[in-house]
């Protein structure tokens, strides 16, 4: 820009020798337009984060329930609902051969679409940028649609013990499971939290078992009219001594209305494969075949009676403990056990006293402990939400001649 200076700038006629002009940079300042744009941007950010800073207001028409009433309301039934949830796991599990998907589920963020009509009629999808894995439940039959595999698997019956899957991390399902197995524990109130646009009251359960690793279980549930079930909206699980949750799941959007019936019916597209399968066998996954029956107690903890375990549905598998302080014994093949022990070093695995270093390893995360032992004729895996000492004691009991 050509800027006149001196007399020309003041509007006076140029004097003798004043006919030259000089280029100078214009003054840089924040004008009104820039301030307007800045204010607009700030307003947009404020609108986008309103969910986080708007004060939570009580749900209209619903009386504030006591913590015990809220827990009972969650356990009393299922509220039909559809929504989108996100779970975040920070368990930091090592890569375990054949169990990678379960490890990833508990160590990463998972998008979950939930469509629930009733306790035995629902569909829960694990959404990924590359496809989705959908689990349908219709009566006593489960269907598993895997877009990547282009396959629909029909599974009749349910396995009492199986690997975790995305449907287990849906807030409503996880909350009911956790509150169900801690029904005898004391419960306290949490401040309401804004979730998916609702102000939702919360409750906290602090498990009393000193040998358990679960420090607290926080559940936020949306109460309905008196006498009707509450809809769990978020769950957080924290380890003992930890400030933040190790596993959390919450709805990002939810509607308390049943899904369309069509959405709950699996469909096999042309070109896709349709197969039938038995409920997942955990021991089969780890190639722990031909294992002896599990002992009635381990590390001073009684075995939990599971449906189907008497009919040989769970060869060699046992679940021990009470409440949320439990661990599972799963037989594993020698090769699988060797692979896990070999790879456990990178995940912070340490040898177990009394065992040779290449025979047994312990991996302890804040919430989940894992002990893998390789022995003649096969190995086994112990995993659970108990302190490592309990798992090591159980491993010692299972291998004759080992002393800690």
């Amino acid at each position: 820009m050509v800027v006149p200076r001196g007399a020309a700038a003041r509007g006076e006629p140029p004097g003798p020798g004043c006919g030259t002009v000089e280029r100078v940079p214009p003054p840089r300042r924040f004008g009104r337009r820039a301030l307007l744009v800045g204010a607009g941007a700030a307003a947009l950010v404020a609108a986008g984060t309103a969910e986080g800073w708007l004060p939570a207001t009580p749900t209209a028409g619903a009386a504030e329930p006591t913590p015990e009433q809220l827990r009972d309301a969650v356990l009393s039934g299922v509220v039909p609902h559809t929504g989108l949830a996100e779970s975040t796991g920070g368990l930091g599990l090592p890569d375990i051969p054949r169990l990678e998907s379960a490890s990833a589920l508990l160590s990463t963020t998972t998008r979950i679409r939930v469509q629930v009509a009733a306790r035995d009629r629902w569909r829960i999808d694990q959404l990924t940028p590359a496809g989705e894995i959908d689990t349908y439940r219709l009566g006593d039959t489960e269907y598993l649609w895997d877009y990547g595999g282009n396959r629909l698997t029909t599974i009749r019956g349910t396995a009492p013990v199986r690997l975790p899957r995305a449907s287990d991390l849906a807030p409503s399902d996880l909350a009911r499971r956790l509150l169900g197995i801690t029904a005898t524990e004391a419960v306290s109130a949490l401040p309401p939290r804004r979730i998916a646009g609702y102000a939702v009251p919360g409750i906290r359960v602090v498990p009393a078992d000193p040998a358990g690793t679960v420090g607290r279980i926080d559940v936020w549930a949306l109460p309905g009219p008196a006498g009707t079930p509450a809809l769990p909206m978020a769950v957080e699980i924290a380890a003992k001594g930890a400030a933040g949750p190790v596993l959390s799941t919450a709805f990002t959007s939810v509607e308390a209305a049943p899904p369309s019936g069509l959405a709950l019916r699996p469909d096999v597209p042309p070109g896709a494969e349709s197969v039938s399968a038995r409920p997942g066998d955990l021991a089969g996954v780890l190639r722990g075949l031909g294992a002896p029956p599990p002992p009635d107690s381990l590390a001073g903890r009684a075995r939990v009676e599971l449906p189907g375990s008497d009919e040989g549905a769970l060869p060699g598998i046992g679940v021990y403990g009470t409440g949320v302080s439990r661990f599972v014994l799963v037989p594993a093949g020698r090769d699988v056990a060797r692979q896990i022990i070999g790879g456990a070093g990178a995940a912070g695995g340490v040898p177990i006293a009394g065992f040779a270093p290449d025979r047994a390893v312990r991996v302890a995360t804040p919430l989940l402990g894992l002990v893998v032992v390789r022995r003649r004729g096969g190995g086994f895996l112990l995993a659970g939400t108990v302190v490592p000492d309990v798992l090591e004691a159980a491993a010692t009991e299972l291998v004759p001649g080992v002393r800690r």
């Binding site: 820009m1 940079p25 214009p26 004008g31 337009r33 820039a34 307007l36 744009v37 607009g40 941007a41 947009l44 950010v45 986008g48 989108l84 679409r113 999808d125 959404l127 990924t128 940028p129 590359a130 496809g131 989705e132 959908d134 649609w145 895997d146 877009y147 990547g148 595999g149 282009n150 629909l152 990002t252 959007s253 369309s260 959405a263 699996p266 469909d267 096999v268 597209p269 042309p270 070109g271 896709a272 494969e273 349709s274 197969v275």
Partner: protein
């Protein structure tokens, strides 16, 4: 003014070159996958790419997923970075502003021109990859479950959830995808126009846009950046995949569209605020 800008854009050889290259990349991938039969395993590679061998009609979605992370942003950066800085670098800007045209109107015409470029780019990739997909992989396969043999047929593809998307539905979803991705790329276009008002160098403006893309993509997986993640321009680029689920999941698309609109407003506003008071010397 808008007509002039559109005509100018359509006359530029580099614009047609960008469109040609965008269409060529998916075609090359289709030829390679078809010739070797080696599609990425499920869960790896670009979205939908593992499924194209069973149904070529899904290839447009795979093609969009292929060009979205890098090639589409580069072409948008080149075109948007040139809008104002290109005029300035050739000394045309001051003459352009001498005409009785307001600076805001000129900027808006530039934005419309960039919008037309990105929409046509996404549309061209979609159409050409549909043709290439059919030629390379054909229509859908038949059931293998022992039931009645059935072919997906013309215009129908399986959704990510399993049920087949019928032709009219597929067209609607495709148009929504084109519109959504056009909006995402227009965000980069608006940012490019803003950078273009800051400098006389089109290259510098284009590199500025790419710097924004790289920064955004780098922050996205960072847990420490969780508070700003939802506002990053690249955070919602893959939300269009939800349009191919059954039932359609609009939540992420809606949120993504709002974020992109916010970026367009702010970037265009910043460009206007800068150019309106700028000392144009070239």
């Amino acid at each position: 003014m808008i007509g002039v800008e559109l005509a100018l854009m359509l006359r530029r050889r580099r614009v047609w070159m960008c469109w040609a290259l965008l269409c060529a990349l998916p075609a090359l991938v289709a030829v390679l996958v078809s010739a070797t039969g080696l599609a990425p395993p499920p869960g790896r590679g670009a979205a939908f790419l593992s499924a194209v061998t069973t149904n070529g009609q899904i290839f447009p979605a795979a093609a969009l997923a292929l060009v979205l992370p890098v090639f589409l942003p580069i072409t948008v950066a080149v075109v948007a970075g040139d809008t104002v800085a290109g005029e300035a670098s050739t000394g045309m800007l001051r003459y352009l502003l001498v005409r009785p045209v307001g600076r805001l109107r000129m900027l808006f015409a530039k934005l419309v021109s960039v919008a037309a470029f990105v929409l046509l780019a996404v549309a061209f990739v979609t159409v050409t990859s549909y043709v290439v997909g059919i030629a390379a992989f054909g229509f859908g396969g038949t059931t293998t479950s022992g039931g009645t043999a059935a072919v997906t047929g013309f215009g129908a593809v399986p959704s990510l959830s399993g049920p087949v998307i019928e032709p009219v539905d597929l067209l609607t979803r495709t148009l929504l995808t084109v519109g959504y991705l056009g909006l995402c790329m227009l965000t980069l276009g608006a940012i490019g126009i803003f950078f273009s008002t800051l400098t006389d160098s089109p290259l510098a403006a284009a590199l500025g846009v790419l710097a924004v893309v790289v920064t955004s993509a780098s922050l996205q997986p960072l847990e420490a950046a969780g508070a700003v993640e939802q506002f990053l321009p690249t955070a919602h680029w893959l939300a269009w995949i939800d349009l191919f689920r059954d039932p359609i999941l609009y939540t992420a698309v809606d949120r993504g569209a709002l974020v992109q609109l916010g970026w367009i407003l702010v970037a265009f506003g910043a460009a206007w605020a800068n150019l309106a008071t700028k000392d144009v010397t070239s």
